[in-house]
């Protein structure tokens, strides 16, 4: 009896949480002439919404842009973050501790509070509508978390390993590259997942720094599309569905890593 009740509750929770997606799918597959309730699934195949959304929202180009910015941002953050964490974790002199505190304290500076001056800066260095400016802004705001995760992980690797490698002929740098870097794989996976999700989904920076439609990322392109075709919700829904699909598919396939990555990212 108790088991039945639990199963009933599980089903209820799942149905409740799936409602927004269920409605989204219904709208996306309905023809604009069909004015039946959004709760009803259409029993005909109508795919024009997707084609129209793809074209009018410029989704192809924006998916490419999102990929470029996300991949380069994640790669840079991993390299710069891992490099920085080694001296900060291993040689906690007074000076390095200060620098570490400074880096970590950036985590509480919400990006939007410095929006005005950040935008001014990007305008001044001609960074509007370029890949590199938005990428570096993302890198800057992802670095504190990355350094925090990497230093935390490095501190759990015993120092005896360093000593052994030094005796065997490594210098400090090759020690890091050859011995420690391969050991950092699990935390690197965490960083890639956390930072990747943040950059891929970002709207607050992209909307300011990417104004040219040719360089816009998916959320920005979609927001332009939404304000233009607000009355044609079937198109907008199809656009939304296409844009969430990559993230959802990756999540469903790599779920184990995502859950592990998120758990480590949030509880460390």
């Amino acid at each position: 009896m108790k088991k039945r009740l639990a199963l009933l509750l599980v089903t209820g929770i799942c149905l409740l949480h799936i409602i927004p997606f269920f409605i989204l799918i219904n709208i996306a597959f309905k023809s604009p002439q069909d004015t039946s309730s959004k709760w009803l699934t259409p029993f005909y195949l109508y795919l024009d919404n997707f084609g129209n959304a793809w074209q009018n929202a410029n989704l192809g180009q924006s998916l490419v842009n999102s990929c470029i910015i996300t991949v380069s941002g994640v790669v840079l953050v991993v390299i710069i973050g891992a490099l920085a964490s080694y001296p900060l974790a291993r040689f906690p002199t007074r000076w390095n501790t200060l620098i570490y505190t400074l880096c970590i304290s950036c985590m509480i500076v919400p990006a939007l509070t410095i929006l005005v001056s950040l935008y001014k800066l990007v305008v001044d260095i001609n960074g509007i509508d370029t890949y590199w400016a938005i990428t570096f802004v993302h890198v800057a705001f992802a670095l504190p978390l990355t350094i925090f995760l990497y230093t935390g992980f490095l501190k759990t690797i015993p120092r005896e390993l360093d000593e052994a490698a030094l005796i065997d002929g490594c210098n400090r740098f090759t020690l890091f590259v050859r011995i420690l870097l391969p050991l950092l794989k699990p935390v690197t996976a965490t960083v890639i997942i956390l930072v990747g999700v943040i950059i891929w989904n970002d709207y607050q920076f992209s909307v300011f720094f990417l104004q040219n439609p040719e360089i816009q990322t998916v959320p920005v392109a979609l927001s332009g599309f939404f304000s233009q075709y607000q009355n044609n919700i079937n198109w907008v829904a199809a656009g939304c569905l296409i844009s969430i699909l990559p993230a959802v598919v990756v999540y469903l396939f790599l779920q184990r890593y995502f859950v592990k990555g998120l758990t480590e990212g949030f509880t460390k």
Binding site: I13, L24, F91, T113, L115, L118, F173, Y203
Partner: protein, 313 residues
């Protein structure tokens, strides 16, 4: 080349000799610190410099594009006190922050407690509850807009079936604020659930079993054993949610764009409007500093308050 090869060859001997002399805390060469220079450059350029520049701009009357502006002292901060729209935005910011924190943690904890056992469908629930975390909050806002739309929205269809008149959910400021809070909760309650599930798994089963043998009821076990041991997770979850809620931006833009009027603006959307639509950059910068102060003070106060309640195993 030759020299390089030789030094490399000599190094191991030297190092092992050093190890004999000073076995502990061998000092590294200062050059190892060069490794964090790239990070420092990026952070100084894109965070530290704009931060101080932002403080400077908040004392000026800059309009956002002209080359000339002048120092106006605390004038921009003074404006806040008599600006009803901004005061409303500050109140909304607190509702977004505390409202969604409260909801996310209660729901997240309830779900985690329910799922923390062997049962069928556990994995499916986790997958579905975590799914919205992966989606852009902006798109989540659009998806939920279809739900709360006036004309043919899914929520109004339910009212229609029940024989009630449709409600224009988002054109009522107070309702809009709470709907946005709800959407934010729906999207990110998975994070609280995730943190609590990890926390629950770290509690030794023996403690609960011992309490059960001693005759503690389920409620007493939860209050006296589970909850105190879960305090570290509560701290993380609450502080994380509150910071996330106070800086809410995307969902508001997607669902109401701050409207109707300015009734559902938060500090972040208010800044955006002031800077880009109303050419009031100095004022927007001042709001940014206020927002920074609010988030820092609230975040650190919560952190200290909750940390004091944590117990050691």
């Amino acid at each position: 080349m030759n020299l390089l090869a030789r030094t490399r060859l000599r190094q191991p001997q030297e190092l092992s000799k050093q190890r004999v002399i000073i076995p502990k805390r061998r000092r590294a060469h200062w050059s190892i610190n060069l490794m964090y220079v790239p990070a420092l450059i990026v952070l100084s350029f894109f965070i530290f410099y704009p931060f101080f520049q932002g403080i400077h701009l908040s004392f000026t009357n800059w309009d956002g594009y002209s080359a000339q502006f002048r120092w106006v002292g605390l004038m921009q901060y003074g404006r806040i006190l008599s600006d009803q729209v901004v005061l409303r935005a500050i109140v909304n910011t607190f509702i977004y922050g505390f409202g969604s924190t409260l909801l996310q943690n209660i729901l997240g904890l309830a779900y985690a407690l329910f799922l923390d056992r062997k049962m069928r469908g556990k994995g499916v629930v986790r997958t579905i509850v975590y799914l919205p975390i992966m989606i852009s909050p902006l798109i989540m806002g659009y998806i939920c807009y279809f739900f709360f739309q006036y004309d043919g929205g899914a929520a109004n269809d339910v009212l229609h079936v029940l024989g009630r008149t449709p409600v224009d959910w988002l054109s009522n400021g107070t309702a809009a604020v709470w709907i946005i809070t709800l959407v934010n909760t729906y999207q990110y309650m998975g994070i609280s659930m995730l943190i609590y599930l990890a926390g629950l798994q770290a509690i030794p089963r023996e403690y609960l079993e011992a309490a059960a043998i001693d005759g503690a009821s389920a409620l007493a076990r939860f209050r006296k054993v589970t909850l105190p041991l879960l305090m570290p997770s509560i701290t993380i979850s609450v502080v994380y949610n509150i910071i996330g809620g106070l800086k809410l931006f995307d969902v508001i833009v997607a669902m109401t764009n701050g409207g109707p009027g300015d009734a559902s603006q938060s500090l972040s959307t208010m800044m955006y409007t002031l800077y880009f639509a109303r050419e009031d950059a100095g004022y927007a910068a001042a709001l940014g500093i206020i927002m920074f102060l609010i988030i820092t003070v609230v975040g650190l106060t919560m952190l200290r308050f909750l940390r004091r309640k944590e117990v050691q195993l």
